[in-house]
């Protein structure tokens, strides 16, 4: 068996993606890749707001209709998770804040008028969502729900869960830099993952080792708008509609890609408090400051491999030991000794 994984590249969820899978044959690797890609595609079709036939589009189209739309258990759980993020961020994480893009046109290089922002704020508000079991209603016409803040990471975890169910434990799912692995490489070594340098996004600032779980990055290092020497970035505060100045990027490692992605997103939303928030969180991470400084906090767990010796192989029948006579019962088979003459 070759010591290199089978690689598959494709585009999904608006970004370049890849799979790296160790399998006994190319055919089995392809079957595993089809399984993983199928799951990623399913989630893209369900939660993309760019597809008219998606659940996300149907939810958004129903805005203003008090009856709302029917949702399934998976969507409920995603909304529950978004609710946790909203709560943990003190309201800074808000999947309904996407409409602010209508005011903030970063390509134009001009700041929006306060009036434009104020006109959008009534259409934002996570807590105004009306939820009932298996139903969701957006109360105000023009409100929009965006699953983009967490579905990619969830898709990476789901793909890995399917790989594991198919007994593939040496595989990596990379969805545009948000990664999840099904386990270490077959020889027990970790995967190495490059962390993008915010000043030269084509380069890796450093490489981190991943034995299990996932890794995700949130960044705010694209150009933004500069007015009178003040930078206005892409990270917007849904409470007032104005940008939050924060770290250039945060890369977090966690037991799941979704946890990593949620943590990196919330960290950036903390603004000036991002560093303290990450330190208190206690997950291994890399943070890049706007001035190019890179701080690593990778010694906190997760990077340590699980020892094989912790999981002894169990046998239904105790193995017959080579050494006889040590215990009654075990040695009895040995009791046929030398014949006497």
């Amino acid at each position: 068996m070759p010591p290199t994984p089978h690689r598959f590249r494709f585009k999904a969820m608006g970004c370049p993606c890849s799979l790296q899978l160790f399998a006994p044959s190319a055919r089995e690797a392809r079957a595993l890749a089809t399984l993983a890609r199928g799951e990623i595609t399913r989630l893209e079709h369900k939660y993309s707001r760019y597809r008219d036939d998606s659940l996300a589009s149907r939810i958004n189209a129903s805005a203003g209709d008090p009856a709302g739309v029917a949702i399934d258990a998976e969507t409920e759980a995603l909304l529950d998770h978004a609710d946790t993020l909203h709560h943990e961020s003190g309201g800074r994480f808000d999947p309904t804040s996407g409409v602010l893009r209508r005011a903030w046109n970063f390509r134009s290089g001009r700041l929006p008028e306060q009036g434009e922002i104020d006109a959008l704020l009534p259409r934002i508000g996570w807590t105004r969502l009306q939820r009932a079991p298996r139903r969701l209603a957006l109360p105000v016409a023009g409100m929009e729900l965006d699953f983009g803040g967490f579905v990619k990471e969830y898709a990476a975890d789901r793909a890995v869960a399917l790989l594991q169910r198919a007994r593939c434990f040496a595989g990596l799912v990379d969805l545009g830099g948000d990664l999840a692995v099904a386990g270490p490489q077959p020889d027990g070594r970790p995967w190495t993952v490059g962390v993008r340098d915010v000043r030269q996004p084509e380069r890796a600032a450093l490489r981190v080792e991943l034995f299990r779980g996932g890794i995700a990055t949130s960044g705010d290092y694209e150009r933004g708008i500069s007015v009178d020497g003040v930078r206005y970035g892409h990270l917007l505060d849904p409470r007032n509609g104005w940008p939050i100045e924060s770290l250039a990027s945060a890369t977090v490692l966690a037991e799941r890609c979704l946890i990593a992605g949620s943590a990196s997103t919330l960290a950036l939303l903390q603004g000036e408090g991002a560093v303290a928030w990450l330190d208190a969180l206690g997950l291994p991470h890399v943070r890049q400051h706007r001035d190019g400084r890179i701080e690593t906090r990778l010694d906190e767990g997760l990077s340590a491999p699980r020892r094989r010796s912790l999981r002894p192989r169990r046998r239904a029948r105790p193995r017959r030991r080579a050494a006889p006579g040590a215990q009654p019962g075990r040695g009895s088979r040995r009791s046929a000794p030398a014949r006497s003459r």
Partner: protein, 425 residues
């Protein structure tokens, strides 16, 4: 409680358990706990990567071991008797192959050659001393035994099913055995229950029956065993496992090559024709991350309806050095009481006719210590594991937990060295 309520309560319990586990793992940050809890509530995300999944590579093992018993002290044997005891050379081959995504098959062949003398029977000291005397058999040369075992595993989402079939052959002995077992993980793979059944049929056709006419020509015995265990992960570095094994044996359980000295004459070894044995084994594994070492503590309590009791405690330390070496010092203490019908010799015969003076049924204690070194390296695309080990075992009546009146002179002490090579490809 309605069914809906019960389900909700169960879900809440599962959530709380998940939360507690992650709390331990994440050092207790409130925010991380919250993120983790809601993320794991998503479908499929609570499942954890199974480290014990179906193997994806082929494995070939070869192991050589040499078992050599200490010579028996000349003062303990009858005048002119053999003192050299058993030496066994053991060669073991094993091949494991994955079959598709969810099966594997293993084939193991072991070949042993044995030579040396073994204890035959025990007599009182002819000079009137307190210590009995061992009469040894003559030394044999080059007896051989071959074992073949075929086993398979079927891996499913959270469970493994396994089956094995084996046979063992010697010139005077033949045994067939089979086993079926399974294990299943719960609670996000933190709990694993396992169980199994086993069967073996042994046929013995003793040699030299012309010289020893009271030896049976052909006898057999059957063994049935049941096994059940549970393993629990306790936090990220600790695991405990406990299991119960019951074995029932019936048939010819005596040793046709041994005798017992009863009323001044050596008569054939005679043991009951049934035996019920129980063993309770508890194992603790604890990994110490800072020093990259793992402690193994095993305790086994054994008892049977021959009124034997034994305790075994084993400690081993697995120390990883420079990533690729592992050193494993280990220590074991063992103590057993005697079988109810055992005696070194019998002044008067027992009313039930049983008689056995085999040292394995006598009261004694044993101490053993060993060291194993292993390393792993990669050449081309192959992965190699190499290990060597040495073990010293000493048994003595003085080591027993309870005081022993008369030590069996046949107690054994031995050295065991072994070297093994595993190739993953």
């Amino acid at each position: 409680m309605s069914r809906g309520n019960a389900r909700a309560a169960r879900r809440a319990r599962q959530r709380r358990r998940r939360e507690r586990r992650l709390q331990r793992r994440s050092g207790g940050s409130q925010a991380l706990r919250a993120l983790t809890t809601s993320a794991l509530a998503l479908p499929g995300l609570a499942e954890r990567a199974a480290a014990a999944g179906a193997p994806v590579d082929y494995r070939a093992d070869y192991r050589y071991a040499r078992y050599s018993e200490d010579a028996i002290s000349r003062s303990k044997v009858a005048v002119g008797g053999e003192t050299e005891r058993y030496e066994i050379d053991i060669h073991q081959f094993r091949l494991e192959a994955p079959i598709g995504q969810s099966f594997d098959l293993g084939l193991e062949v072991a070949h042993e050659t044995m030579s040396g003398a073994t204890p035959w029977y025990v007599t009182p000291d002819p000079n009137g001393g307190d210590d009995p005397i061992q009469v040894m058999t003559e030394a044999t040369i080059d007896e051989a035994r071959t074992d073949v075992l075929l086993s398979g595993n079927h891996y499913r989402d959270e469970s493994v099913l396994n089956a094995g079939l084996g046979f063992s052959i010697e010139n005077d002995y033949m045994a067939y055995n089979g086993s079926l077992g399974g294990e299943r993980s719960f609670n996000e793979q933190n709990t694993t229950v396992s169980g199994g059944i086993g069967f073996s049929y042994d046929l013995i056709e003793p040699e030299d029956t012309n010289l020893f006419p009271e030896r049976p020509d052909r006898e057999d015995k059957q063994s049935y065993s049941l096994f059940a265990g549970v393993a629990q992960v306790l936090g990220r570095n600790t695991q405990v496992q406990t299991s119960l094994t019951y074995q029932h044996q019936r048939g010819f359980l005596s040793d046709p090559y041994k005798r017992a000295f009863v009323e001044n004459s050596p008569i054939p070894d005679d043991r009951p024709d049934t035996r019920n044995q129980f063993a309770w084994l508890t194992q603790l594994r604890r990994h110490f991350r800072k020093i990259d070492g793992t402690l193994h503590v095993d305790y086994q309590f054994f008892f049977d309806d021959w009124e034997m009791r034994s305790h075994t405690i084993e400690l081993a330390w697995y120390q990883t050095l420079f990533d690729r070496f592992r050193l494993v010092p280990s220590f074991r203490y063992y103590s057993q009481s005697q079988a109810d019908f055992y005696a070194p010799f019998y002044v008067t015969a027992r009313s039930d006719g049983h008689a056995a003076s085999d040292y394995r049924l006598s009261p004694f204690g044993a101490i053993s210590g060993g060291i194993k070194a292993e390393t792993r390296f990669q050449t081309w695309s192959l992965l190699w594991d190499v290990n060597v080990s040495y073990q010293r075992y000493v048994s003595d009546a003085d080591y027993a937990l309870e005081s022993v009146d008369v030590e069996n002179p046949g107690l054994v002490s031995y050295d065991l060295i072994s070297a093994g090579l595993t190739l993953h490809f």
